[in-house]
């Protein structure tokens, strides 16, 4: 049985351009993610990735369809689900008058746990920042701290929303290494990204979304083989970005 299961998910939002009308930000998404997988959700801005993630996390109501994590229905048993998942959000601000250590202790407390924040900071290479305030962190450090916060309950499923956006190559590679390491410990990881290299490097399986629907899914290799443009005479040089552009078009999104 898949650890994350979503069936025919719908999310409606009011249309920004026409009053009183709605559009489906997520329009019938079904997913099955196996335990121990790194699963990537790709798609242009506004494709519905974050909305899909937020429904799986219980952060927004599921307008139609259903989702379950480790057998617990997200809508009906939100608190069981919250105990099982770790979430890293796109916005990664925290109470700014607390140190990293104090913030982690707070998160431990919220899950009814008591543990050493320093050991967790060590794991994400932030031990030397234990007494620092979050506002003093660099972009990469902030992302790593965000992930540390998402790990306090040793989650079964870890959700990462664009974890490497805005990071320099060093910080990005470091984060990838961390994600790999967590996954090798048995954690299921669901992430969204715009970075095709990241998707190819990290993900066991991918789904590409556009306009609220999944338009392709499979392993990175299978997707490349199926969708990458065939070079006429020269050897194959298409990559996942070509796949992405071919599937979702070259137009800029809002």
């Amino acid at each position: 049985m898949p650890i994350v299961q979503a069936t025919n998910l719908h999310k409606r939002y009011p249309r920004p351009d026409r009053k009183g009308e709605f559009f489906n930000a997520v329009d019938g998404v079904s997913l099955e993610i196996a335990e121990g997988e790194i699963f990537g959700l790709l798609g242009p801005n506004g494709a519905g990735k974050t909305s899909t993630l937020e429904m799986l996390e219980g952060l927004t109501d599921i307008d139609a369809g259903s989702a379950s994590i480790a057998g617990h229905d997200v809508s009906r048993a939100p608190y069981q689900v919250k105990q099982l998942i770790g979430v890293q959000l796109q916005a990664n601000d925290y109470f700014d008058r607390l140190s990293l250590c104090e913030l982690l202790s707070l998160f431990y407390g919220l899950y009814g746990r008591r543990d050493d924040p320093l050991a967790l900071l060590e794991r994400v290479n932030l031990a030397d920042k234990a007494a620092a305030r979050p506002s003093r962190l660099s972009g990469g450090q902030k992302q790593r701290f965000s992930i540390a916060c998402a790990l306090v309950n040793t989650p079964v499923v870890l959700f990462l929303d664009e974890p490497t956006t805005g990071l320099d190559p060093q910080a990005k590679r470091r984060l990838w290494a961390l994600v790999r390491e967590l996954n090798q410990g048995g954690m299921t990881i669901v992430l969204t990204t715009h970075n095709m290299e990241e998707a190819e490097f990290l993900c066991d399986r991918l789904a590409i979304m556009d306009q609220g629907r999944i338009i392709a899914a499979g392993t990175p290799q299978a997707l490349i083989e199926r969708y990458a443009p065939e070079p006429p005479a020269r050897p194959l040089h298409g990559n996942l970005e070509d796949v992405f552009l071919r599937l979702t078009g070259h137009d800029l999104r809002k």
């Binding site: 937020e54 996390e57 219980g58 952060l59 927004t60 109501d61 608190y79 919250k82 105990q83 998942i85 979430v87 959000l89 796109q90 916005a91 990664n92 601000d93 925290y94 109470f95 008058r97 607390l98 104090e102 707070l106 998160f107 407390g109 919220l110 899950y111 009814g112 916060c149």
Partner: protein
């Protein structure tokens, strides 16, 4: 650990580290009280009263003696023309001219009172005193014993001056400011930063979040109020006529009321600018209508009944009753009822408006 306690400790830590906010929440009430504390002290000096006696007889001398005996006045005698100059320059508050025909003949004579009525707030106080002095002299002259006398026994329980009026008002005002800022503004800020969203994906119960915020704010508010109160009692020497515990009880009730109001506003407002506007919209009218700086009695008559019903009016009334009049909670029941009703309204509203999922997302 219990989530509510955890959040209380966390928020208390956060708020106590916000030195700037702590400073400014105390700054204005302290400044106001200090300024009026000093002004109020000099305001109790006797009134300078000029007398020009053109009668120069035993009767006028007696009349002047009666006035001199009144602690309300300090007399300065002289010619009308020179005294007028003193009056214009403000050295004298009032000039009294005793006419030449001021004697014990049966015909009545007229004393002239010259004053810049716009400048003399105490005119309502002075005129009866003058009248009384005249009546005394007249009685003596006619050999009439007064039929009734009114004897005032001053128990000196409390000094009623502007400062004593202002201090409870300032306390009430500070409770409002600190509490509304404490709940409403913080919620909007935490939402904007995505902190509420982050907390929402943990198993934190909304009631624990609210409970923690309310308890920590209430705690901090009581400490801040204690600072103001100590300053008023010890430095400005405002006497406290009532019970201290009753005072704290009312402050706690007021804090709960305005924290709930802050939650309502914080749930409605989506941006920092909106919450500031909403905050001002509810605090400013109350600041001027709720008897903080001046009594509600001097407002236009049609405003008064409404002004009396404002949340801050109930709080200021109750605090003033305890500090100035030494009232007990029992006698203050109308104000306490008002506080209770408003608290219930705000609490119900905030429970309806503060939907954890919607506010957080």
């Amino acid at each position: 650990m219990n989530q509510t306690l955890l959040m209380t400790r966390t928020f208390a830590r956060i708020f106590s580290r916000d030195r700037q906010a702590l400073f400014f929440s105390l700054f204005f009430p302290l400044i106001f009280m200090s300024v009026f504390g000093l002004v109020g002290r000099s305001g109790n000096a006797p009134l300078m009263l000029g007398i020009s006696d053109t009668a120069h007889n035993a009767l006028s001398a007696e009349f002047i003696a009666v006035l001199q005996a009144n602690p309300l006045f300090t007399l300065q005698q002289g010619e009308e023309a020179s005294l007028r100059e003193h009056l214009v320059s403000g050295d004298l508050k009032l000039l009294l001219v005793i006419p030449a025909d001021f004697h014990d003949a049966s015909s009545s004579s007229e004393l002239r009172v010259i004053a810049d009525t716009a400048q003399v707030r105490e005119l309502g106080l002075i005129m009866p005193a003058l009248q009384q002095a005249l009546v005394d002299v007249e009685r003596k002259l006619r050999g009439v014993e007064p039929l009734f006398t009114l004897k005032v026994e001053d128990i000196q329980a409390r000094a009623q001056n502007y400062l004593a009026f202002l201090v409870p008002g300032m306390l009430a005002f500070a409770v409002m400011q600190i509490s509304i800022a404490g709940s409403g503004y913080n919620i909007v800020e935490y939402r904007r930063k995505g902190i509420l969203k982050r907390l929402f994906v943990t198993p934190l119960e909304p009631s624990s979040f609210i409970g923690g915020l309310v308890l920590s704010r209430a705690l901090l508010c009581l400490i801040q109020l204690s600072v103001l109160l100590l300053y008023a009692l010890l430095v400005l020497k405002v006497p406290l006529a009532g019970r201290l515990w009753a005072l704290y009880l009312v402050v706690a009730l007021g804090t709960a009321m305005f924290l709930s109001l802050g939650f309502c506003l914080g749930s409605i407002a989506k941006t920092q600018a909106t919450i500031m506007a909403l905050g001002n919209l509810v605090t400013f009218p109350q600041m001027f209508l709720s008897g903080i700086f001046y009594p509600i009695d001097i407002l236009p008559h049609f405003v008064q009944p409404l002004a009396q019903l404002l949340p801050l009016s109930f709080l200021a009334n109750a605090l003033r009753g305890i500090i100035v009049d030494g009232a007990t909670l029992l006698t203050l029941w109308p104000s306490l009822l008002g506080l209770g009703v408003w608290s219930a309204i705000f609490l119900l509203l905030s429970v309806r408006l503060f939907v954890w999922k919607e506010v957080a997302a």
